[in-house]
Amino acid sequence: MDKMIFLFSEGLKNLWRHKLTAFSAIFSTFLTLSVTGSLIIATENTSKVIEYLRDKYKIEVFFKQNISDDRVVALAKEFNSIRGIRSTTVITKSDAEKIFKSQFGENILDMVGYNPLPASCVLNIVKNQPDAVKIRPIIDRLRTYPEVDEVNYQGRLINRIESYYQKFVKGMTGLLILVLLISVLIISNTVRLTIFAKEELIKALQLIGATRAFVKAPFVIEGVFHGLIGAILASILLIGGLSLGEGILQSVTGLKLQYDTLFLISVLCGTGILISLVGSSRAISKYLK
C-alpha cells in the first residue's frame, strides 16, 4: 500500500520536475483531443442531418385497379416487415378521391364518372442506422407483388446522399485514427526525452533492485496525468467554443448544434488517458527492453 502511494507521488512529482516535457505532452494531447472532439461533434451532427433527410425519403406503391381495400391493408402490413422500412401509410381509393378533392376542389367522380385513382401505400425508411440504407433491394422486392402496379421513389437522390454520407463517415474515421496515431508517436517521443534525462535515476533504481514495473510506474502515472490534463483543457475549449459559436450559428443559419456534454467529456478523458498511457509505456518499454 505504502509502495503504491510512493509510486503515485513519484508520478506526480515527475510532472513538476519535467515541466517542459509535461507541457509538450499535455499540449499535444490537448490538440489531438480538440480535433477528436470536433470530429465527433461534426459526425454526430451530420448523422442528425442524414436522419432528417431519411425521414423525408418516401417510396410510393400504387396498386392495380381491382385490388380490394382489405387486400391493400394486408399488403401494407407485409411491406412493413421488410428490412429498412420504418412505417407504412395506406391510401385507399376513397382516400385518394378525398385528397384529389381537397387539392383540386373538384369531385373526380363528377368529372370522369368513376374513380380512376389507384389505391396506394407510402413507405417511410428507417432513420438512424449508420450504414447506408439500400433502396434497390426494397424496390425489387415490392415489384415482385402481382398486385403492385407501379413503384415511385427518389432513387438517384437517395443513393447519392447515402454514398456521400458513407464517404464522410469513412473519411472522418480515417482522419481520427491518423490523428490518434500521430499523437501517440509525439507523446512517446516526448516521454523518451524525459527518460534520457532520467537515465541516472533508472540506472540507480535498477542497481538498487527495482523491478521493471517499479521503474515504469511513475512514468506511466505521469503520462496518465498528461492525458487527463490535456483532456480537461480540450473539453473546456470545445464546450466553451461551442456555446459561443452555437448562438452565432443559430442566428445566421437557423441550425442547432447537437451534442452531449457529458458524453463528450468522458470520451475525451478516456481517449486522452489511453493515448498517453500507450505513448508513455511505449517509450519506457523501448528504453528498458
Binding site: 505504502d2 509502495k3 502511494i5 510512493f6 520536475r17 541516472e200 535515476l201 540506472k203 540507480a204 533504481l205 535498477q206 542497481l207 538498487i208 533492485g209 527495482a210 523491478t211 521493471r212 517499479f214
Partner: protein
C-alpha cells in the same frame, strides 16, 4: 555465499578480468586489493550482475549467472548492499530520500522507513544533513550517504567499491570499524581498495588483484 568459477570478462576496448576463481563465505570480511585499473570494479559488477561473465559462472546463494532470468535480477540485488565508487546518488532528492529509496523499492511501510533511514544516517554520522541534496554534501559525505544507502536494507552481502576514497584517515578507519560491526551482525563483506595501509593488520582476508588476475592470500 559468493562463488566465481573461472570467470572472465573483457571490455570491447580491452581491460577486464580473466580466469577468476574466488569464493566468499556468508560471514566473511574480505578486502580486494589492487592498483588502479586492475579490475576491482569490474569484479564487483560481475557479482551484482551488472556485467555477465563471458566465460565461467558467478553464483550468489541460489542465483546463478548462467541460469538467472532477467526479471529475477532485482531480487538478487535486494540481498546485496552496494557502495558504488561513483555513488549513484540522485541529484533531485535529498539525503533522506536517497537513503529511503531501496526501502521503497522493497515495499517497506512508511513508519519503518523513517526509523531505519534515521538509524543508517546516524551510523555513518550524517545526522542533521537529512535535507541536503547531494550537491550540498562534501565528497566524503556523499560517500558516507552511499554507505548508509547500502546498509539501510540490512543486506546479506555488502559490496563496497573504494568506500574510503574520499575520506580522511580517521573517518576511513571509522568506516572500516562500522563494516566490522555490520559483519558481526551477519553480513558478508567484500571491500575493494587500493589503500593497503588502511587495512593491513586487522586480521581480515586479503584478495589481491593485478591486471585482471586474482592472487589470494
Amino acid at each position: 555465499m559468493i562463488r566465481l568459477d573461472n570467470v572472465s570478462y573483457t571490455y570491447e576496448k580491452g581491460g577486464g578480468v580473466s580466469n577468476v576463481n574466488l569464493s566468499l563465505g556468508d560471514d566473511e570480511y574480505a578486502f580486494l586489493i589492487g592498483p588502479t585499473g586492475s579490475g576491482k570494479t569490474t569484479l564487483l559488477r560481475l557479482i551484482y550482475l551488472d556485467l555477465f561473465p563471458q566465460v565461467g559462472k558467478v553464483e550468489i546463494d541460489k542465483f546463478k549467472s548462467d541460469k538467472i532470468k532477467r526479471r529475477k535480477i532485482p531480487y538478487l540485488r535486494r540481498k546485496i548492499g552496494m557502495v558504488f565508487q561513483d555513488y549513484h546518488l540522485l541529484d533531485d532528492r535529498n539525503l533522506f530520500e536517497n537513503i529511503a529509496l531501496p526501502l521503497h523499492v522493497i515495499g517497506v511501510e512508511k513508519d519503518e522507513i523513517v526509523e531505519r533511514v534515521n538509524d543508517s544516517i546516524e551510523e555513518v554520522g550524517l545526522e542533521g544533513k537529512e535535507n541536503h541534496f547531494p550537491m550540498e554534501l562534501s565528497g566524503g559525505e556523499q560517500q558516507r550517504a552511499c554507505v548508509a544507502r547500502a546498509l539501510v536494507k540490512d543486506p546479506d552481502i555488502i559490496l563496497a567499491d573504494e568506500p574510503t576514497g574520499n575520506l580522511d584517515p580517521v573517518t576511513s578507519f571509522e568506516l572500516i570499524k562500522l563494516l566490522e560491526e555490520v559483519n558481526r551482525e551477519g553480513a558478508a563483506i567484500l571491500m575493494a581498495s587500493h589503500n593497503y595501509n588502511l587495512i593491513k593488520g586487522r586480521g581480515h582476508r586479503i584478495i589481491e588483484i593485478q591486471n585482471g588476475t586474482v592472487r589470494q592470500s
